[in-house]
């Protein structure tokens, strides 16, 4: 059984571990760290924080596995209605960098029906090889056949890294594949890198509520799997004419069996604007003052070619639907431009938008926390400023 201990002779009493512990499990006694085992979750944050190697996490060494058969970086390329989703290009961009560091091939994995032509195109986005499984049962995503096929591919071709989008499809699929293949999986990575010597995928993600970043590894398991949210990585450039080797796989019919049945795919255009796809978001909060005022945001968003977001209080007040909610219980977004109008900037909201490239905040309260993360801040009345901005951008953009 795993355990943790403090090497007292190495502990300098610096308290870095106390600050690192998200569970309040460490205190100092006689200038030495003491871990309260009732609170400790063995998360390892203190071990990583200690600069003196004074804390050791002991883990039962499982049977040493030979991992050398695993090679190549894979990207699961999500398609809907036969169209490869833009997240795939972003993952191929990042995957290319990782594959080059490891000195291996970048492989795209494409599941669908009638996807041969689309598969060919993936070479132009940097894939050296495309594993294509084409079958009518794979036309639209369903958990069982997609998991079945992915597991078969992993077992046969043994990739060392798999990247997948943190989308509804990606998160549902890869979680199942990770269990079936006994692999480590890290969700929502915001940074990926390679430890070349150990051939480890270094997966960095926000942890314990967002204000601490953790780097996570899976040293003794392959493949190393990570999901990445949309818009976090840069798209791979298109290299016209670049070809990839296509590996088409055929599996026995039972691989494609599904216990669930997809009866219908309903698109709610407009009704659910996908704010996580938008490059520009104009978001409003309680400070907008009412539903009518909230409509002004739509006009500004329209001029800018963006989408409308909202804080939880605006959604709770029924000024706009839940699919527009940004923040902890809504969506996490990272657009190029986020204009926060009448949003005070509670931590739950900031968690959902603070990685936006440029943030503009308009609020009448000069002490609103939103100004702490804003690139440009304006203290003033949203109901005067939003129409003024709409007018100005209309003029500048000739709309």
């Amino acid at each position: 059984m795993a355990s943790i201990k403090v090497h007292l002779e190495k502990c300098t009493g610096c308290t870095l571990c106390v600050k690192a512990c998200a569970f309040g499990a460490i205190h100092m006694a006689d200038r030495k760290a003491v871990i309260d085992m009732a609170k400790c979750t063995l998360c390892g944050a203190c071990v990583a924080a200690c600069r003196f190697s004074a804390i050791e996490l002991e883990k039962a060494a499982g049977p040493k596995k030979d991992l050398s058969a695993y090679k190549d970086v894979w990207v699961f390329c999500e398609q809907k209605k036969g169209v490869i989703q833009s997240i795939s290009a972003e993952l191929l961009g990042e995957g290319r960098r990782l594959a080059d560091k490891l000195g291996v091939k970048l492989c795209a994995v494409l599941l669908g029906s009638g996807m041969e032509e689309a598969a060919e195109k993936l070479g132009e986005r940097g894939a050296d090889k495309v594993y294509l499984v084409d079958h009518p049962a794979l036309k639209s995503y369903q958990d069982d056949p997609y998991t079945g096929v992915m597991v078969k591919l992993v077992e046969e071709f043994k990739p060392e890294v798999i990247l997948c989008g943190a989308s509804t499809i990606g998160r549902s699929l890869i979680s199942r594949v990770a269990i079936k293949t006994n692999a480590g999986l890290t969700a929502d990575c915001t940074g990926l890198d390679i430890d070349v010597k150990e051939r480890l995928l270094l997966q960095t993600r926000p942890a314990f509520g967002g204000n601490i970043m953790a780097t996570i590894i899976a040293p003794n398991h392959r493949p190393q799997m990570a999901t990445v949210r949309h818009k976090v990585m840069k798209e791979a450039p298109v290299q016209p004419g670049r070809a990839a080797e296509i590996v088409s796989k055929v599996y026995p019919e039972e691989t494609f069996a599904s216990r669930t049945r997809l009866l219908d795919i309903v698109e709610e255009l407009g009704a659910t604007v996908n704010i996580s796809e938008a490059d520009i978001i104009v978001a409003g909060g309680r400070g907008m003052g009412g539903k009518e005022n909230f409509a002004q945001l739509e006009e500004l968003a329209k001029v800018l070619g963006g989408a409308v977001g909202a804080s939880r209080s605006a959604v709770d007040a029924d000024w706009i639907g839940y699919s527009h909610q940004v923040g902890q219980t809504g969506k996490t977004v990272c657009p190029k431009l986020y204009i926060a109008c009448g949003i005070s900037g509670q931590i739950q909201h900031l968690i959902g938008m603070q990685s936006s490239k440029t943030i503009v905040a308009i609020n009448k309260d000069p002490d609103a926390p939103i100004f702490k993360v804003a690139t440009y801040g304006i203290v003033g009345d949203v109901n005067e400023l939003v129409p003024a901005l709409t007018k100005e951008f209309k003029r500048v953009l000739n709309k």
Binding site: R176, I179, N182, T260, F393
Partner: protein, 260 residues
């Protein structure tokens, strides 16, 4: 109908403040609450019971104080609570957590529906629900926003997607992870709170589960943390002042690069 709802106790982020010096979360005095997404799972479990009859069992893996979350769940209409707690589970990542919960669910004899929140607010992985269904080898539907039909044999549900929703039919038993849109959770009733107070929570340790010890806790977790760091706080930028028209003009100039 036997309905299981998996819940997690998380720090209440509405209490969380940020230390302005270290830029880390201040956790002193932060109370623990049921993961906000799990509240929708509890409510939906109770609604299924009201529609079809049966029993709702809330289950959690966590430290001894997670018992409070189960009592709260009983107050909200669950019939019983199971606490799976042991030092041997410490250090579990999503692989080991879903394995442990799956082992506990198997010990519960029969189940028709398992409900989970779409993700926990402290980890945000959305991996444990699908992990449980995979360990149990049952179908799953994630991001469920509506259970439109349900009977002993099957269910018809709506699964939220980026563009709208899918209509999916599934045989039972099945695991659903649910989103906020599925319902509005009720407040605990007085009767419920009384029941919660006197409710006896079933407590299981690792020894009670038919589990592979090597697959539990840190030992059973493929992933581990190697480094933690506090990101540079985002610096507040430039304040712009003037009349609305002046501000708009300046901003339009500054945002030239972003707005094309």
């Amino acid at each position: 109908m036997n309905i299981i709802v998996c819940i997690k106790q998380v720090p209440n982020t509405t209490d969380v403040r940020i230390d302005p010096v270290t830029n880390t979360l201040i956790r002193d005095g932060v109370e623990s609450v049921i993961n906000p997404f799990d509240a929708y799972a509890i409510e939906e479990a109770v609604r299924i019971k009201e529609r079809c009859g049966g029993k709702v069992t809330a289950i959690t893996m966590g430290p001894p104080q997670a018992e409070n979350a189960l009592k709260e769940a009983i107050g909200l209409g669950c019939d019983e609570g199971v606490l799976v707690s042991d030092r041997k589970f410490a250090g579990s990542d999503t692989w080991a957590t879903s394995y442990t919960l799956a082992c506990a669910i198997e010990k519960l004899e029969t189940y028709d529906v398992i409900l989970c929140g779409k993700q926990a607010s402290d980890g945000d992985t959305a991996q444990v629900g699908p992990g449980i269904s995979t360990h149990l080898d049952i179908p799953q539907v994630t991001y469920v926003k509506k259970i439109s039909e349900i009977n002993e044999k099957s269910a018809k549900v709506e699964r939220m997607t980026e563009e709208g929703y899918d209509v999916v039919e599934t045989p039972l038993p099945c695991l659903f992870t649910v989103v906020k849109e599925i319902n509005t959770p009720r407040m605990p009733s007085l009767k419920g709170m009384m029941r919660a107070k006197s409710a006896k929570i079933i407590k299981w340790t690792a020894a009670d589960l038919e589990a592979d010890p090597a697959a539990l806790g840190l030992d059973g977790s493929p992933t581990r943390v190697v480094k933690i760091f506090t990101p540079e706080p985002r610096k507040g930028g430039e304040m712009i002042s003037g009349s609305p028209a002046e501000v708009a003009k300046e901003l339009a100039e500054l945002l030239k690069g972003e707005v094309v």
